[in-house]
């Protein structure tokens, strides 16, 4: 319990830090983006929207502390991240709400799958240390070193084309209407295969290497020798004794690397023009849509924190030593 409470406190603190960073970043922008925007919007902007923009950018003339309180108020009470510049006057929250499911579906799924797959292969290679598979490690290293987006480009080049089954971009075919129809779901899956494959191959290599090293390290622990001495089957020793222990550092590694992973996988969306948050971010960066960029940063950070917390809980379940206090 105590451990969980400590972690919760930490995540709350980190969330606060991220929100605060988000508050300060736009204050570094010189000039008055709101005025520019109002001019650009040519009178379509409402007074309320202008006020929320001014709070977001701290241009309402109050001192920094009042600005900060207003910012928190807008964020938590009104759940408002301001209107997006590029999709004006659509609120940022709406833009994000539209693209988030795509990202969660693609990246969430592939990240977990690559972890499971990579760890599984790593267990096997680490256990059969010195076998044929070890010779493939440099290849794995090479694959792990290819940037996600470059691998995505190669995949598009090789697997798509006029006659290919796989579409090269988008989240679904233009002719289908989004909704819970079989046509849409099939189209969405078809469009997800290549991006998912790209992320999977690029990410899996890293997990294989990490888990393999952990297996090798754990294999020289005394309790592994004892397990062999007990005459247990090879499978049992490998899974219940070696892998079970080697998994623990991998899980904390997984939690901590989520932040790194998210950054890399976003680029795959860009390459495949997949309608997720990564593509939105790309567009926002291109059109200097600061409210959208900030919103995305905030949402993603909070999601990563939540995923981290989940990983913490899994770790807690797997390692009896952290449950000491019961």
């Amino acid at each position: 319990m105590r451990h969980i409470l400590r972690r919760i406190a930490f995540y709350l603190f980190t969330a606060w830090a991220a929100i605060t960073v988000n508050f300060f970043i736009p204050r570094a922008i010189p000039g008055d983006p709101v005025t520019t925007l109002i001019a650009k919007a040519q009178g379509q902007i409402s007074t309320q929207q202008e006020a929320s923009l001014r709070i977001l950018f701290g241009l309402n003339g109050d001192n920094l502390f009042t600005q900060y309180l207003n910012y928190l108020h807008t964020l938590f009470i009104k759940r408002d991240l301001g209107p997006s510049f590029s999709f004006f006057p659509t609120p940022v929250t709406t833009v994000i709400r539209q693209s988030l499911p795509w990202t969660v579906g693609l990246i969430g799924f592939t990240t977990v799958l690559s972890f499971v797959l990579g760890t599984g292969i790593g267990v096997f290679i680490g256990w059969r240390r010195g076998g044929v598979w070890d010779a493939l490690l440099p290849v794995t290293t090479f694959i792990a070193s290819i940037p996600y987006f470059f691998f995505g480009l190669i995949v598009i080049d090789l697997a798509t084309g006029p006659n290919s089954f796989f579409p090269s971009s988008g989240g679904f075919a233009p002719e289908v209407v989004p909704g819970w129809t079989s046509g849409f779901i099939i189209s969405a899956i078809k469009h997800s295969v290549l991006p998912a494959f790209t992320i999977l191959v690029s990410a899996v290599a890293g997990w294989i290497l990490g888990m393999r090293n952990m297996m090798v390290t754990v294999a020289s622990e005394d309790y592994i020798t004892v397990a062999h001495a007990k005459g247990l089957s090879d499978r049992r020793v490998m899974l219940s004794y070696a892998a079970r222990n080697a998994l623990l550092p991998s899980i904390s590694g997984f939690a901590l690397s989520l932040g790194f992973i998210v950054g890399g996988t976003f680029l795959v969306e860009i390459v495949f023009s997949y309608p997720g948050i990564g593509l939105q971010l790309f567009a926002a960066v291109g059109s200097k849509d600061y409210p959208l960029m900030q919103g995305i940063f905030l949402i993603i950070t909070l999601s990563v924190l939540a995923a981290n917390f989940l990983a913490d809980l899994v770790y807690l379940m797997l390692d009896p030593r952290t449950r000491k206090e019961g």
Binding site: P147, L209, I224, G263, F266, T301
Partner: protein, 353 residues
């Protein structure tokens, strides 16, 4: 992207390494070899690749046959004698772009790596050595920087900064990516601090700064090197990503910029594979080199990861058997010499179910 998962292994191995004295330590001979890890094939290859790119970073722009931005009439040409890597939609020479880009990539990567390493040593060693509330505060800071998606933060910051140059980008990357190294160093310092030799140095009357610089730091060299290499990998990828999505580097050439133009000009749809393949391969190769170097250092830090040299052994039956934990191979003593006849295959009492 290289995940720092391998470092997790290093971390735990370094923490427990001291207790690993199950079998007698065999490697005791000779002088202390500080650069023994170079004997490792992985690190040798890795170092070779990295050295190649460092040299390329230095001499690349001088070797470039053309100004990388210079336009010409050869639009989207496949590789030829004149344009080794072909040309862009504006007739720019891609070979020159890759050569010139190398310097920026190496500059940003190493600067960011240096900044991050200095920060991680300062913060990690301080937290680990001082302990107490200083450690609590610094650890919280490390963990915050670890869980916040670094690349995203870098993108947001660089996009917000007006005309971010290469130096600024390197600084931003450096200031956001020190946390992993700091965490590993903190853990290792924590365990070093409890080592008897640090206690003994204190008991001899050494001052704190001397203990940190002469007793603790020399024993952290390998880990610092590993964290430097790790950050360089991250910095190179981050920088290229920034250029690829058009946030930074638009006023100069790096490999990400090349890919940015290739992507935005639909190089793929035009079949211009030469536009993005060289730059991408260069990134992957540099990443591989750095990763290999890091594996070498990992194996140096944690001897358990070292391969045992010959792992195949010829056994009694003349079969080749792999050395592995739990089943020590038996070398081929002449079977005929045994005095126990035909009992070797006798079933044991409990082996039948």
């Amino acid at each position: 992207m290289t995940l720092p998962a391998a470092d997790a292994a290093t971390l735990t191995a370094a923490e427990t390494g001291h207790a690993a004295t199950g079998a007698p330590v065999v490697s005791k001979k000779g002088k202390r070899k500080r650069f023994r890890f170079l004997a490792n094939a992985k690190s040798a290859v890795g170092l070779g690749i990295v050295t190649f790119f460092v040299i390329l970073g230095i001499v690349g722009p001088w070797l470039a046959p053309q100004d990388p931005s210079e336009l010409s009439a050869d639009l989207i040409q496949a590789p030829s004698r004149q344009h080794l890597f072909g040309t862009t939609h504006l007739g720019q020479d891609i070979f020159s772009q890759v050569l010139v880009g190398a310097r920026v990539v190496m500059f940003v990567g190493f600067t960011a790596g240096l900044v991050a390493t200095v920060l991680s040593v300062l913060i990690g060693v301080t937290a680990g050595y001082l302990g107490g509330w200083v450690d609590d505060v610094l650890s919280a800071l490390m963990n915050i920087f670890l869980v916040i998606p670094a690349l995203l933060l870098i993108i947001i910051i660089t996009a917000t900064l007006p005309n971010a140059g290469d130096g600024l980008v390197a600084l931003v990357i450096g200031f956001t990516s020190w946390a992993w190294g700091a965490r590993v160093l903190r853990a290792q310092t924590l365990s070093l601090r409890r080592r008897d030799y640090v206690q003994a140095a204190r008991a001899t009357g050494e001052t704190s700064w001397r203990i940190i610089t002469f007793e603790v730091l020399p024993n952290l060299t390998a880990i610092i090197a590993a964290s430097f290499v790790g950050t360089v990998i991250f910095a190179v990828l981050s920088e290229i990503t920034l250029a690829f999505i058009g946030v930074a580097g638009s006023n100069g050439w790096n490999w990400g910029t090349i890919l940015f133009w290739a992507q935005s000009q639909q190089a793929l749809a035009q079949g211009a594979w030469w536009w993005f393949v060289p730059a991408g391969l260069a990134i992957a190769l540099l990443g591989t080199g750095l990763s290999l170097l890091n594996f070498g250092i990992d194996e140096f830090i944690s001897p358990r990861l070292r391969s045992a040299g010959h792992t195949k052994v010829k056994t009694v039956g003349g079969r080749k058997v792999r050395m592995r934990v739990g089943f020590t191979p038996v070398l081929g003593a002449p079977v005929a010499a045994t005095t126990v006849p035909s009992t070797t295959t006798t079933k044991l009492k409990d082996s039948a179910p």
